[in-house]
Symmetry: none
Subunit: 212 residues, 4 copies
Amino acid sequence: METAFNDKQIEILKVAETLFAEKGFDGTSIRDISKMAKINIAMISYYFGSKERLLESLLSLKTSGLKEELENLLEENLEPVEKINRLIELYINRINCNRGIYRILHFELSSKKRILNLQSLAELKKGNLRSLELIVQEGQSKGAFRKDVSIPLITPTILGTFFHFQMNKPFFEDILNLKTEVQYDNYIKNDLTKHIQQTIKALLIHEIATNN
Amino acid sequence: METAFNDKQIEILKVAETLFAEKGFDGTSIRDISKMAKINIAMISYYFGSKERLLESLLSLKTSGLKEELENLLEENLEPVEKINRLIELYINRINCNRGIYRILHFELSSKKRILNLQSLAELKKGNLRSLELIVQEGQSKGAFRKDVSIPLITPTILGTFFHFQMNKPFFEDILNLKTEVQYDNYIKNDLTKHIQQTIKALLIHEIATNN
Amino acid sequence: METAFNDKQIEILKVAETLFAEKGFDGTSIRDISKMAKINIAMISYYFGSKERLLESLLSLKTSGLKEELENLLEENLEPVEKINRLIELYINRINCNRGIYRILHFELSSKKRILNLQSLAELKKGNLRSLELIVQEGQSKGAFRKDVSIPLITPTILGTFFHFQMNKPFFEDILNLKTEVQYDNYIKNDLTKHIQQTIKALLIHEIATNN
Amino acid sequence: METAFNDKQIEILKVAETLFAEKGFDGTSIRDISKMAKINIAMISYYFGSKERLLESLLSLKTSGLKEELENLLEENLEPVEKINRLIELYINRINCNRGIYRILHFELSSKKRILNLQSLAELKKGNLRSLELIVQEGQSKGAFRKDVSIPLITPTILGTFFHFQMNKPFFEDILNLKTEVQYDNYIKNDLTKHIQQTIKALLIHEIATNN
DNA sequence: AATGAATGAGTGTTCATTCAT
DNA sequence: CATGAATGAACACTCATTCAT
């Protein structure tokens, strides 16, 4: 638990999150951050060591707690299908609150040979997958879920759907006629979440008749 | 049809695609490109005007033909479910061949306030959506597909699943034990494609019983 | 006599000496010093005022006592040639113990328009020269030494020979096959010292025949 | 022979030499150089790759030709003692023309763990030593020189004396009453050179009587 | 008396682009 | 038509020093 950030550090992290989300990691300079956070440019190196380590701090801050939330969900007394729905809700909600950072986490980082704390990120992903496995296997043993489903590919479908929507925000705002930020957020909370839940549910339950 | 590129331009575009895929748009310098393409650094500005316009050229080159392929698919005499499967195959295959550029197209660009030719990209996306709509609506009118499906969200599920898998390549190589490039590619062509087809099929066909 | 340094100051000075010797004055940051001395970075400015004044303190500390040693030597009842030999020994030994600081004293400082306490350094050098003069003049009056020798240039020959050897340490380690630090130090104490003594003796005594 | 520098490069090298001589390598910024050379700051990286490689270029430029000069000297039909005198003259003259760079070459570099082209510098030094050896050995075989002299230590005495004088310029200007640059240069050309020649000659010829 | 926090100037280097030829 | 040379702005980062406590 070295993550005891002071006020200025938190301010920097907040600004960094915003800017990384807007312009990507490479696209954001520490000058941009220091200017928007109204701190001296040297403070970033001073507090975090480097731009990359700032990102690391941001990642660890934003991903903290997810593991616990998932574990709590596992303990709850719910039907498997309901657990899946809750898991999707939890994912969407959490990621929606931390859009920028999750985009970096899942996409920008993948394309770089970064040295950074990828180990802990991989652990996080593995933990998430393990939680999902437990839920699905529970449903399978209860006879509620089909058994010929590739569990590791469920997460890409959940998160990928969300991210693709998010990444093409202007396009969807246009064709779905979402004129305000509120409308857009509501669409995510209601329609998009339901679509993903519906999709995963169908995948897990649906008896595919004969072919393919 | 301004796309009459000469040999050097094509070489530049090829190199640019590779490097953009590897290191992202911001992460790639025109020095890198000019070095790898063994051309003078000034050529890029000379031929394409700027780094951004080089990207535009690359995008238009790489997305050309997709529209026609989709229209051909629509004309074919196939069952709706089979058309969907073919469409998914077509998407995956095409995108898999142009990984780098599609990643930029769908993710990197979204986060920038770029001035570039987003109009034509939006048109492309709209065309793609329209094709999908036609297929789904055909299936719905034939009674093969459910009617309470959000068609615009199908594309995010198809492409998002693929991209998320792609972007987390090292992670999936690890947990799926894909040791060689060939194994990885085969997994995409077979398992991942099938997963997406299975998912969309289930979504479109599955009669969701009572709740939700 | 403002030189009443406390423990921390002494620790800082010790570390500074080491680092200045290793990496030069410009090449050493007060961060390096504070880190190695395990004190707060602000301590250096606090205790010494500035990096330059830290150097001044170090110089005055390290050069203290030399004057007295020289004066004691003058008093001793020795033949002039033996006094010269002892003086050379004294120089070599002393400088060899304070390599880093003497290098800065004689070389690095000369190239800077430093404001620092050059006056006291000049006084020191003048004192040293005066001691040498007294010894040589004694030898000359006794008829042991030639009279056509430029006394001020003797010091450059003594110290310059030593410094040049020291500064090209890796080179001489190589060609003289000095594999360990001990071998190197022994070479200085024995061979190099003898070479300088031999050189100065020859210069002072040798009757140059006819030409030149 | 890659050393075909154009006019601007030569201008940069000239300025760099001056500034390195004045303020040392670390003490000189490429901004200083670019400002004094009236070129854009980026040109230094453009032409030389880096500040360190600029130094390398400067070194190779300034040390070129020395080897040939020494070899020519070896060929000449002169008495050994005269060859030594000429060698000293040659050294002093050459180094005096390239003060700054030789100071870096012999002193500043020694204190850094530089990766740079130290190999070629070591070769140069070895070559110089070899030339000296040949001359001294010739004198020894002719019976003109003593045989109990450490040849590798002769160079430190020659160069060290000169450098020490040079490095303490203000001090010697003071005590030797050298009021103008011309007086100072003349002192080097005449008195200092003669002192060194006298010293080395005495060392090589003088029969040390009994003791020591 | 002592220090963690903070500063502004400075570092070497790389950037996309332009210009003269 | 093509390019080597050149540019100024920007980059991440480190510097010695100061200040509030």
